[in-house]
Symmetry: C2
Subunit: 210 residues, 2 copies
DNA sequence: CTCAATATTTGAACAGTGATAAGATATGCT
DNA sequence: AGCATATCTTATCACTGTTCAAATATTGAG
């Protein structure tokens, strides 16, 4: 009791015990980036939030659910970063390039978040197809942004896309290229050769040029 | 004691206790494919191998080490599958296409193995650069195969590759494309739209054509 | 303002995990 | 045969995810 009072002594933190939901997500993000997704533990998280091991279960059904929420946040963050990257740019082809760079750079600078975003559990936890699942499977913002930009490219005559199917293919193709590059840098054989942000940008530019 | 005798009653299984090393890897492969990498437990593995929980530690330093060995096996398997895929084919461009298809198909049919191959721990566990690490970082067979084929393509004049740097870039680029596609199918948004092996092949062909 | 309904949080407990150390058992070598 | 060695077991530790009943705080109706 005295401890918890001390913990939230700085400001107001609504007496009961702050808004744990947000606090947990915040601390979880830091913890995951610090110890990686495998070293991540709910109990350590609770410890850092100054709360009992059972407390998080009133805000997240599961450890998986918490990570899922975390992944959602990261998706949103990546979406925002992407938006920032193309702000003010009019040439659709340049937009496309910037989107790619933003994607890979984000992966490079937040590797743990990047890994979490692509855990298969997030896409269908246990074969169940419950309500929440549909809510979670909301379209990835980075994905729709990419699609939109590709449409702009087509309309500007920069890329030959005839059918809807071709659009879908182009989207998948460019996404795959950029995502694969990010993976190779973050978790693959390029991990040790690519070390600086500038290298990442340069390599991404070169790869997406062809 | 009587139990262990019963367990290896079928055949010869060298009295002491069979060749655990191989048995463990075999069972681990099955277990991982069954429960996924997160559900995978060393104790359950020992249980299935009919051996005490501590036994595996005499053959693998760590849980991580075992998974690492598993990943090595999978890399080799993928290499073999790739070789099979281009056996008898002479046209280097067609070889390239077949390699891509083999890669994505392998990921599709052995998703857990595919995920394991790209865990960052395998590339540098804890920032240490010890001896074993260098042994583990042996070049990926699929990678060297891809590079070789690209060289053949250049020599045949199918692809304009001028410098060594350009060769490196082309290798990374095609690998990234194929790896990204595999990830999108196995762990990403394409998971639910692509369901059959034929769909995988068709999609990969279309993507790698451009 | 009071007090019951509700939302949060805690404490204790359970089963299961990775890992280590000391002792038992078999194998292979001389 | 007998000893060093590799292999396996038993017991144990610290830690984890999760659940449940009890304790506490917040809220809203009267």
């Amino acid at each position: 009791m005295s401890r918890s009072l001390l913990d939230r002594s700085i400001k107001s933190e609504p007496y009961h015990h702050g808004n744990l939901h947000a606090t947990l997500l915040e601390a979880a993000r830091a913890l995951v980036e610090e110890v990686g997704i495998d070293g991540f533990s709910l109990r350590e998280l609770a410890r850092r939030a100054g709360v009992s091991p059972a407390a998080p279960y009133h805000h997240f059904k599961d450890k998986a659910a918490l990570i899922q929420a975390l992944a959602g946040e990261s998706q949103a963050r990546l979406g925002i970063a992407s938006l920032k990257a193309i702000k003010g740019i009019t040439d659709p082809m340049q937009k496309l390039s910037m989107l790619g760079v933003a994607y890979v750079v984000y992966a490079f600078e937040h590797p743990s978040e990047f890994r979490i975003m692509f855990r298969h559990e997030l896409h269908s936890p246990l074969g169940e197809t419950n309500q929440e699942q549909l809510e979670v499977n909301k379209p990835d913002p980075a994905f729709v942004l990419l699609k939109q930009t590709l449409i702009e490219c087509r309309d500007a005559g920069c890329i030959p896309i005839t059918s809807d199917n071709a659009l879908e293919l182009s989207t998948i193709s460019t996404w795959a290229l950029v995502h694969g590059l990010a993976t190779l840098i973050v978790d693959g054989p390029l991990m040790h050769t690519i070390r600086t942000r500038e290298q990442v940008i340069e390599l991404t530019r070169q790869i997406t040029r062809g």
